[in-house]
């Protein structure tokens, strides 16, 4: 596919890969008139073409996943029976079911091809995709194919499944269904009870046909039984749990109200020949459950609870007596010789034996520029090898490695109990005591004046004071806020996180990867100005390498033309060599480029270039701070204490002070434990801490803080356990997010005042002993609906004001 672009009077033809849409250097790789950027993409196309699956390309444009940086893995370990048993969910000997996570799926074409897998492998019976969860469910015939073949097939078309044993996300599903059942039953009962109560509201025929009234009332009881015993069970369970811990949460007055409503209705219908308040009961529970559904709306695709296990490979290649075998990772012991290939993760602390190690620790530290290791050096778990295969000898078991220990350290394990009690819960204690007092006073008063009304007045107070409007205002406000944040690429784990965010008064930032842009760096060429041709040569050379520094240089040279490469070689940790149009280009460390043996260690951020053995200068590459950093810091600094923690050395202190001013606290050389301790010390001083980090080295601090937010370039990628994930593009709006969270909280307070007014009106009827079913039936839905409308409208109004929607 060709696209012609006009640029500064120069006419440039851009070649776009038919498969993945990336830029192609030339049209050397092609099938018919379709051009591909690499052989990987071409192979995928050929596979699809042979099987008449080219519709893949007609659904979305260039839907493929680039195959340039993919190295084909060996999946022989999937023949291991123990492993297969763990991965397969169900098998009856004929048909097996398996589910894979495929984070690469991104468009309709992906869904289409993944659901047509059976055309590529006849052993697959069918496959179904859940796009939001990025999952594929495959049924296959155990006779005709096996797991190994299926995974190889997926990998060959560019959808490499994530293989790990972390299946925490699947558990939640049954809860969801239960809530749907509860809502369905409550809604059904609500509608029917309402219908059967109409004659009572309007006094239609109730006097002429008293037996009809009784029959209706008894049908109402029947209908309300499942509502009371099934749909409302959560409120009783939750308030009981709270009371056991001596906490009166919002569910206590709710459960009390529900219980009294039910008992009094039964009493009135059975003994007093009355109508009861069952319509109010069913309506109340129906609305409450809808609120719950709204609050529970979380992000299916995102995983906030991920731990290191979900990131680790499930198998590792070991070398014994010169033969390589693949074993499951649990079987890996101390003293094993393991082989780690390009892009593979080092599973445990080991010593380098053979090969050139070039380790990318971005998973652990957030720093994406790889470090070079020499033979005999210890490499900690969690690093990713970039370059050729290396051999290592393990010195610790996987469960004992530095990384695993970091994770399992007690300080890092935070219980799930929310630290900040939600606003609704914090006032429910006073609320409950107040209504009990009012109810008792009314009962005592009526006991002396008219004893018949004492019970009526007491129960009526509890019914009318049932804080349904209050219980609805929180889920609707917070659910709405959560949704608006999500639209702006700020994903919070649950609605509690918003209340925590609103309470924040200290902010701690990690440096690398958090306030600096990940991967992106400030690149400057130092030396004689490059000619256009030289620029093209350099761009074409670095294009062949996936090293982050190469990428940084590539991105700097925007307008240069790409030339076909005749020869390319990469020496990990040193540099790259290429021959293009007869020029020999060397890019890399000083010693590599100039061929003089200069041992210069600090050159990691200076990349030298030579063309035909003549050194042309170097690219100076430094951290690039996120755009708008200065503004955001000064905005945040107005109301919060701000500190910076960095695992790096102090070399950037001066540059940081430009952004932050000298009065901000800056700590360098911080270990993960130091970061955690710093947060704890702030909390001991009564601060509510927001921690923003990205790597695993921040994991402890993220957990310890009141609210931990992980910042990420791609929200589907790995991020440590946290309360929220912020897309790095939305970093500059952080201050707005916090302000909006505060606004949401004040909306809840306002709506509480609103609902109190309704309660006061109701209380007037209640204490005077004149609460009729119709007043309850009107007041309850009206107050709930006004509160829901008020919160929804005001949240949307403020979101619009802040340009969130």
């Amino acid at each position: 596919m060709e696209r012609i672009e006009l640029q500064d009077t120069k006419v440039k033809t851009q070649l776009i890969c038919y498969h993945c849409g990336d830029e192609c250097p030339d049209d050397s790789i092609h099938v018919n008139e379709k051009i591909f950027c690499c052989n990987g993409c071409k192979t995928v196309y050929e596979i699809l073409e042979q099987n008449n699956l080219c519709d893949y390309y007609s659904i979305d444009k260039n839907p493929g996943i680039t195959q340039k940086k993919q190295t084909k893995r060996n999946y022989d370990f999937l023949l291991d029976e123990d492993l297969v048993k763990k991965l397969i969910e169900f098998s009856d000997g004929k048909i097996s079911k398996v589910t894979f996570n495929i984070p690469q799926m991104h468009c309709s074409s992906c869904i289409w091809i993944l659901e047509n897998l059976y055309k590529l492998n006849p052993g697959i019976i069918n496959s179904q995709v859940n796009f939001l969860q990025k999952k594929i469910f495959i049924n296959f015939s155990s006779k005709n194919t096996n797991l190994n073949e299926i995974v190889e097939l997926l990998d060959s078309i560019g959808y490499e499944p994530q293989l790990n044993f972390d299946n925490t996300t699947t558990i939640k599903k049954s809860d969801y269904k239960k809530l749907y059942y509860k809502i369905g039953i409550a809604g059904f009962a609500f509608g029917n009870i309402m219908l059967l109560s109409f004659p009572e509201y309007l006094s239609l025929g109730t006097n002429e046909f008293p037996e009809l009234k009784r029959i209706f009332a008894y049908i109402n009881i029947l209908l309300s039984l499942p509502v009371f015993f099934f749909s409302s069970s959560d409120y009783f369970v939750s308030s009981w749990k709270g009371l056991k811990k001596k906490i009166i949460n919002i569910d206590v007055p709710l459960a009390l109200g529900i219980l009294i409503l039910f008992i009094r209705s039964l009493y009135e219908i059975i003994f007093m020949n009355g109508a009861g308040y069952l319509d109010t009961l069913a309506g109340l529970i129906f609305f409450l459950l809808i609120g719950k559904l709204f609050q529970n709306k979380t992000y299916d695709t995102l995983n906030f609870e991920r731990n290191y296990k979900s990131y680790f490979p499930i198998s590792v290649t070991i070398k014994k007596d010169k033969t390589e075998t693949t074993i499951p990772i649990e079987k890996l012991g101390v003293g094993n010789r393991i082989v780690i290939r390009n892009n593979e993760l080092i599973p445990t602390d080991s010593v380098l034996i053979k090969g050139k190690a070039n380790i990318d620790y971005s998973f652990v530290t957030g720093e994406s520029i790889p470090t070079t290791k020499v033979n005999g050096e210890t490499i900690f778990a969690g690093g990713r090898q970039m370059g050729s295969a290396i051999e290592l000898e393990t010195i610790k078991e996987v469960s004992q490695s530095y990384l695993t220990q970091l994770w399992n350290s007690k300080a890092f394990i935070k219980d799930d109990e929310p630290k900040i009690v939600s606003f609704a819960n914090s006032i429910s204690k006073h609320f409950t005591i107040a209504i009990l007092l009012i109810g008792l006073t009314a009962a005592i008063y009526w006991y002396f004046v008219n004893p018949l009304l004492a019970f009526n007045a007491f129960t009526a107070v509890l019914i009318i004071a049932c804080p349904c409007a209050l219980a609805l205002s929180t889920p609707f406000t917070m659910g709405n806020t959560l949704r608006i944040f999500g639209k702006n690429k700020f994903y919070l784990k649950n609605t509690y996180a918003i209340e925590k965010l609103a309470a924040v008064d200290a902010i701690v930032l990690d440096k690398t990867g958090t306030i600096t842009e990940n991967g992106a760096s400030e690149v400057k060429f130092v030396g004689e100005v490059l000619t256009d041709n030289e620029g093209s040569l350099i761009k074409s050379t670095v294009r062949n390498s996936s090293h982050p520094l190469s990428l940084a240089i590539y991105n700097l040279l925007v307008n240069e033309k790409l030339l076909p490469t005749d020869y390319f070689d990469e020496e990990p940790g040193k540099g790259i060599t290429a021959v293009i149009n007869g020029f020999e280009i060397k890019i890399g460390a000083k010693s590599f480029v100039s061929e003089k043996n200069i041992d210069d260690k600090e050159q990691s951020t200076k990349v030298y270039v030579s063309i035909n053995r003549k050194v042309r200068g170097y690219f100076n590459i430094s951290n690039k701070y996120r755009s708008g950093l200065m503004e955001i810091i000064s905005e945040l600094g107005e109301n919060n204490k701000i500190s910076i923690l960095s695992g790096d050395n102090e070399s950037e202190r001066n540059r940081l002070q430009e952004f932050f001013g000298s009065n901000k606290e800056m700590l360098f050389n911080q270990s993960p434990f130091d970061k955690l301790n710093y947060i704890t010390s702030l909390q001991q001083n009564g601060k509510k801490v927001l921690m923003i980090g990205d790597g695993l080295n921040d994991a402890g601090a993220l957990k310890q803080s009141d609210i931990g937010i992980s910042i990420s370039d791609d929200v589907n990628n790995f991020s440590p356990a946290c309360d929220g994930i912020l897309d790095s593009n939305s970093f500059s709006r952080l201050s707005d997010f916090i302000k909006f969270a505060k606004k949401s909280k004040s909306i809840i307070i306002t709506s509480f005042i609103l609902s109190s007014i309704y309660n006061l009106i109701g209380l007037y009827y209640a204490v005077s002993g004149t609460l009729s079913p119709i007043i309850a039936a009107i007041l309850m839905p009206v107050s709930s609906i006004t509160v829901v409308l008020f919160t929804t409208l005001s949240v949307n109004f403020f979101a619009r004001k802040r340009r969130f929607i």
Binding site: I111, W112, F131, L132, Y180, F188, G191
Partner: protein, 75 residues
Amino acid sequence: MSVILILIIASLLVAGGFLIAYIWAVRTGQYDDKYTPSVRILFEDLKNNAESAKKMADKLRTQNEELKNDKQNQK
């Protein structure tokens, strides 16, 4: 009056039928994934299109070959 009772029972049965249908829908997982089915439904058309497009392409190819053969014959 008894007609009211019959109507009430009938209405409850109808409503109950809908409740059962809803529960069945939840149970069979129709609420698990609220996005993918909306895309999947569009692929139905694609199948027919693809078949007709293939037929068309076959037709064109044979026509082209015939033309070529004719030209060669003419030469």
